[in-house]
């Protein structure tokens, strides 16, 4: 069926074998006919993948079908099957957009289907991009090996993941576009055979095949079945940018209509047909690592609607006719918890633990993260030394949709409906936590009401299944906002210490930094974009009392603030304009310099400033995207009020500009909410904050206009959108406050320092 030699496409000219064409070389393609005559195109990643098994696999049978992405139905509706979850980032729509462009599909007749989570669908290229980015554009001879390897690895690792601002640049670029281009070629081939005309004379547009000379024309649906019999091109040519009809355009998102009329289906809305749900409220121990010691349910037993009260050891649950009744009864149970052996009881204890590690590391100790030149000598030679210590607090994700999972356990099989970024990991966690075999567990995952990293864990699903199993009832388990705020995983707190050495001209010649929390990504901890001749970055590990979670932009979320605040300090100490100072250090980084210049121009950086107002600037490259931001702040009321926000971003090439802007805007608001208000305090080992009254959010009155400029420095998407807007926002704001007041903020959050 398929020729697996890497150079099967004999027509490739050297010119066509551009980077774009090369990116399409991903394994090989299978296709099959769906019941009802539809066409289904898939991209298999292993040789010998039988075409005939594709359709039944998508219908829920078979084993070998992997990564099937597009089907066409008799009504000429094109459906893109998308493996990533939709949590607000618009990925369902934009991946369909990439596929539809290569397919020349009519965008108004494109639908999106969430790929099933039975293990047949994984995101091979997402896993691969993070595990081994150096293989992404591998040589032809080795490509099938890598592809097969990462498929196997991905399957073993349950790699059906959405995260890392990666979907467009991995799945979109390497899989969706291939599927669309291949499907188009097959449809053209089928029409050419039927009409007796050369394939090269057939044009496609808006899901229609046309042959001008003969006047023949037909919707894709007419040739869907015949197309499935056509040879499959494993390396179809991609469109060149001048041929794009959808890529690079602000196509309207397919999910938005359902999100304005209340019909969008989120995890919390699960209402499985035929199930009479009971509702569970749960409470976990307030201090990590502790358990239920005892409970007194006397009062709760008498409360309306209560069905069962369960001490599960690691949590207490009340199951009732209504979630509200369950929560009311849960609140009436007196629970004793086992004592915690964590030496960290308070926020002060946590920062003391950081200080201890940093003190022990001293001026040269700790694990080396990055080293360049000779920092010690450079400090000796420096005419000015600057020391600073920054502290960042613990943060919760606080997505709008509270944590929830609906579970049915019946006849040894289990169905769950839940909002998750990692459906296959949820399946594995349930299997491990309940003893139900993985193959007997089906995870349904509707839209996520926000996530930001929160729904990368699975404990809530396991808890729901345990309750369903114990009670025998189909149960919707809902965490209160308080539970989510206090019993989750968190953006870690950290302390970061800096030393800078400046020469007589004020140039930054030596940079030393040591901090305690090192998770991901690796580049987050290093001021890598700047030309600094002597650099030392060190990690002095310290224990965390609260469990770690990836929080939108992960380590960049605190490191962006640390580094860009300190660089700002250095610039001011050097007597330089903080924009000009950064620009001077970007002389060997033209893309970064262009982004910085753009944001300065947009924000009228150099224009005279009104009394009491000032602007701050910051630039961070994260997840492949360079983002610079300027924030203007008005301090005339004695506390910061933001009056303007500007961002410039270079993600290589932006597939949907409006969607990209929306993500950058959202990242900025998310980051500024944390910068202004975000803080989790510990008392007796437990988190004090509980809900939006004490874990405060930016609101509309707090957020000024945000202007986002996009720089397309290339013609393929090389950077992400969801996270890169976050890291520069907090430093741009605190740098603005410094510019206005001379007050350098070295701790967050901001608001309480101006209360």
């Amino acid at each position: 069926m398929n020729d697996m030699t890497p150079d099967a496409n004999e027509t490739d000219t050297k010119k066509e074998r551009s980077a774009l064409a090369k990116w399409s070389r991903r394994g090989f393609i299978g296709a099959g006919v769906l019941a009802g005559g539809g066409l289904l195109i898939g991209i298999g990643v292993r040789s010998g993948n039988p075409v005939g098994s594709l359709a039944p696999k998508v219908a829920g049978a078979g084993e070998q079908l992997v990564n099937s992405w597009v089907k066409i139905d008799p009504e000429n509706i094109v459906t893109a099957i998308v493996p990533h979850c939709e949590m607000g980032q618009g990925v369902h729509s934009v991946l369909a957009q990439m596929l539809a462009d290569e397919l020349d599909a009519d965008w108004s007749k494109v639908r999106v289907m969430q790929a099933p989570t039975d293990g047949s669908y994984i995101v091979t290229d997402t896993a691969r991009m993070f595990l081994a980015p150096f293989t992404m554009n591998a040589a032809d001879w080795i490509e099938p090996t890598w592809d097969g390897l990462f498929t196997q690895l991905g399957r073993a690792a349950d790699a059906l993941i959405t995260g890392g601002s990666s979907s467009i640049r991995s799945t979109g670029q390497y899989q969706m576009r291939v599927a669309g281009a291949a499907a188009r070629k097959m449809l053209v081939g089928a029409a050419a055979d039927a009409w007796g005309v050369p394939a090269s004379e057939i044009e496609t547009r808006d899901s229609t095949l046309m042959h001008k000379a003969s006047g023949e024309s037909a919707p894709y649906a007419e040739f869907a079945s015949a197309a499935a019999e056509q040879p499959l091109d494993q390396t179809p040519d991609f469109k060149t940018p001048d041929q794009y009809r959808l890529i690079g355009k602000s196509a309207a998102r397919t999910d938005i209509p359902s999100k304005v009329d209340g019909t969008a289906n989120f995890g919390l809305d699960a209402a499985p047909e035929g199930l009479d749900l009971s509702y569970a409220a749960t409470v976990r121990p307030p201090v990590p690592g502790t358990r239920v010691a005892s409970m007194n349910p006397a009062r709760a037993k008498t409360m309306p609607g209560v069905l069962q009260i369960l001490n599960m050891g690691d949590f207490v649950a009340v199951v009732a006719d209504s979630y509200w009744q369950a929560q009311q009864a849960l609140g009436a149970i007196d629970i004793e918890w086992t004592p915690s052996d964590s030496p960290i009881k308070t926020t002060q204890d946590q920062f003391a633990a950081f200080a201890k590690s940093l003190d022990e590391a001293g001026e040269t100790g700790g694990e080396e993260v990055a080293a360049k030149g000779n920092v010690a000598d450079a400090f000796e030679a420096a005419s000015t030394l600057i020391d600073a210590e920054y502290k960042a607090p613990y943060l919760a994700h606080a997505p709008m949709e509270p944590i929830n999972c609906t579970a049915l356990v019946k006849d040894g099989k289990c169905d769950v409906w839940t909002s998750t970024q990692v459906p296959l990991m949820v399946r594995s966690a349930i299997a491990e936590g309940t003893g139900i075999a993985k193959d007997d567990i089906t995870v349904h995952h509707p839209y996520l009401g926000g996530s930001f990293g929160r729904r990368l864990e699975a404990v809530f699903a396991t808890m729901a299944v345990r309750i369903a199993k114990e009670t025998g009832y189909p149960v919707k388990s809902v965490w209160s906002r308080e539970e989510d705020t206090q019993k989750a995983l968190y953006r870690p707190a950290d302390t970061s210490r800096f030393r800078a050495g400046l020469d007589g001209d004020g140039a930054l010649i030596a940079y030393d930094n040591v901090f305690t929390q090192r998770h991901d990504p690796a580049e987050a901890h290093v001021p890598g974009i700047y030309a600094i001749p002597n650099t030392s970055v060190r990690h002095a590990a310290a224990p965390l009392h609260l469990p770690f979670a990836a929080w939108r932009s992960v380590d960049h979320s605190q490191q962006g603030w640390f580094i860009e605040s300190f660089i700002d300090e250095v610039a001011h100490e050097a007597g330089a304009d903080p924009y000009e100072y950064r620009l001077a250090m970007l002389k060997d980084a033209p893309r970064q310099a262009a982004v910085l210049k753009k944001v300065a121009e947009m924000s009228k950086w150099s224009a005279p400033r009104a009394e009491g107002t000032a602007k701050g600037i910051a630039i961070v490259e994260s997840f492949g995207t360079i983002v610079a931001e300027v924030i203007e702040v008005d301090m005339t009321a004695g506390k910061p009020k933001m009056t303007g926000i500007w961002a410039a971003a270079d993600a290589g090439f932006v597939v949907n500009p409006d969607g990209f802007r929306n993500q950058i805007e959202g990242g900025i608001v998310y980051a500024l909410t944390a910068a202004m208000f975000g803080e989790l305090d510990l008392a007796d080992g437990a988190i004090k904050q509980s809900n939006f009254h004490d874990y405060k959010m930016l609101r509309m009155k707090d957020v000024p206009e945000i202007t986002v400029a996009i720089i397309n420095s290339g013609d393929v998407p090389t950077g992400g959108a969801g996270e890169p807007g976050v890291p520069p926002a907090a430093p741009a704001l605190t740098n603005a406050i410094f510019a206005a007041t001379g007050q350098r903020l070295r701790e967050l959050p901001i608001a309480k320092q101006f209360a």
Partner: protein, 164 residues
């Protein structure tokens, strides 16, 4: 065997637990109150708010307190009324009757309520509960108005009982 695989960077920092062999946890204590769909047991007393309001003497006010405690369930998202319990989104209401507005330690009141000069008694609480922002414009209490006068009276009776 338990092994972990770290998918290198970004949000893919997920510790995977494969090949788990630990036994699923067992329930420690299970109390079955009622099966779903089974009839709800009749309440011990069939008193209504009106009965309680019309009744006189100690028994009547006890009914009011009991009914007020039940009605107060609608307030427990933000308030509790137990001695020593922490403030929630709203202040602890234990002993509120007879107290000055804005007086609970450690609770951050709106300027409007803190500066209202109100002392909470049956009349002022009744007025406030009927329309919080009408009585104290600028209060942070944006929900929780109780339109029914008898229900308000019961809630206030319950709150008053907490300080007795």
């Amino acid at each position: 065997m338990r092994h972990t695989l770290v998918l290198a960077t970004g949000l893919l920092t997920i510790l995977l637990t494969a090949c788990g062999s630990s036994e699923p946890p067992e329930v420690v204590e299970k109390i079955v109150v009622r099966e779903p769909g089974a009839p709800v047991p009749a309440p011990a007393a069939n008193a209504t708010l009106a009965d309680a309001a019309n009744a006189s003497g100690a028994a009547g006010s006890l009914d009011m307190v009991a009914l007020g405690e039940e009605a107060f369930q609608a307030c427990t998202g933000c308030h509790n009324a137990k001695a020593g319990a922490p403030n929630m989104a709203g202040p602890n209401l234990y002993g509120v009757v007879g107290r000055a507005a804005g007086a609970v330690d450690g609770y951050s009141y709106s300027d409007a309520l803190a500066g209202s000069g109100i002392t909470w008694d049956f009349a002022t609480l009744d007025r406030y509960l009927a329309n919080p922002s009408g009585y104290v414009p600028g209060t942070d209490m944006v929900a929780g108005a109780v339109r029914d006068g008898e229900r308000r009276a019961a809630i206030v009776a319950y709150l008053a009982s907490t300080s007795e």
